[in-house]
Symmetry: C2
Subunit: 144 residues, 2 copies
């Protein structure tokens, strides 16, 4: 994580009116460099830089960053929480049923007809989340 990165992360935090703390900057860096990583992986990555951060600080940072919309939290059924910094472009995810691998997918139709916010059952919808389930290339191979 170079100095330019640090300044970029600091900007993102300040832009969201969040205090710039070392754990938060490190968490943001770790999520950027480890798309779709779970909390434990992020904790490990953060500790390479700040060996003494508590797991709670990482949980708190992830919660603050998620609430601010700087990172996005995803949690497919049966998985622990995972995080990514690609936000605001309404992309979706493919999840491997076999090994849990996750990859990004742009909406096949571009402007997301399924995803139009509408009024259903009295609900006011503001977001649509799509998860594609299947098998990744590696698992396809190893299973014949």
């Amino acid at each position: 994580m170079g100095n330019a990165d640090y300044e970029h992360y600091e900007q993102l935090l300040r832009g969201a009116s969040l205090r710039v703390t070392r754990p938060r900057v490190a968490v943001l860096g770790a999520v950027t460099e480890n798309a779709h990583a779970d909390t434990e992986t992020i904790l490990g990555a953060v500790r390479e830089r700040l060996p003494d951060v508590s797991h709670q600080a990482v949980y708190d940072s992830l919660a603050a960053l998620s609430a601010a919309g700087i990172v996005r939290r995803i949690q497919p059924s049966g998985s622990v929480a995972r995080y990514e910094t690609r936000v605001g472009d309404n992309h979706h995810h493919v999840v491997c049923r076999s090994c849990g691998a996750i990859a990004d997918v742009d909406c096949a139709v571009g402007h997301a007809p399924c995803l139009t916010a509408s009024d259903d059952n009295g609900f006011t919808v503001d977001e649509a989340e799509v998860i594609y389930w299947g098998t990744c290339a590696d698992c396809n191979l190893s299973q014949g």
Copy 2:
């Protein structure tokens, strides 16, 4: 749960080559009568009928029914597992961010263009799951 119901559930189980046990029939009845209920609610409903079922039997039954495709398990981020018997019609769900309420939604475009199984990033996709996030009517009212 009348006798006709019982026979219907029994048929479903046998049709999937599952043994017909009292816990399974009761679980299937409970899920049918409590769409989108979580495991604890289902356990409660089952115990009205079979006061001594173990929670493990309910977990096992739900797993067997899910694996057989008789019930569908859904688990929006931040929620515990929930179950429904409406299967095979590729419908989706709206989830209230405020109270967690869930309602069914048919795909707006009918034949689900976003949901076409395709080959992305080397993944073989076999299912697409859509969750709409928003606020339910009750929560809209109480929040102004």
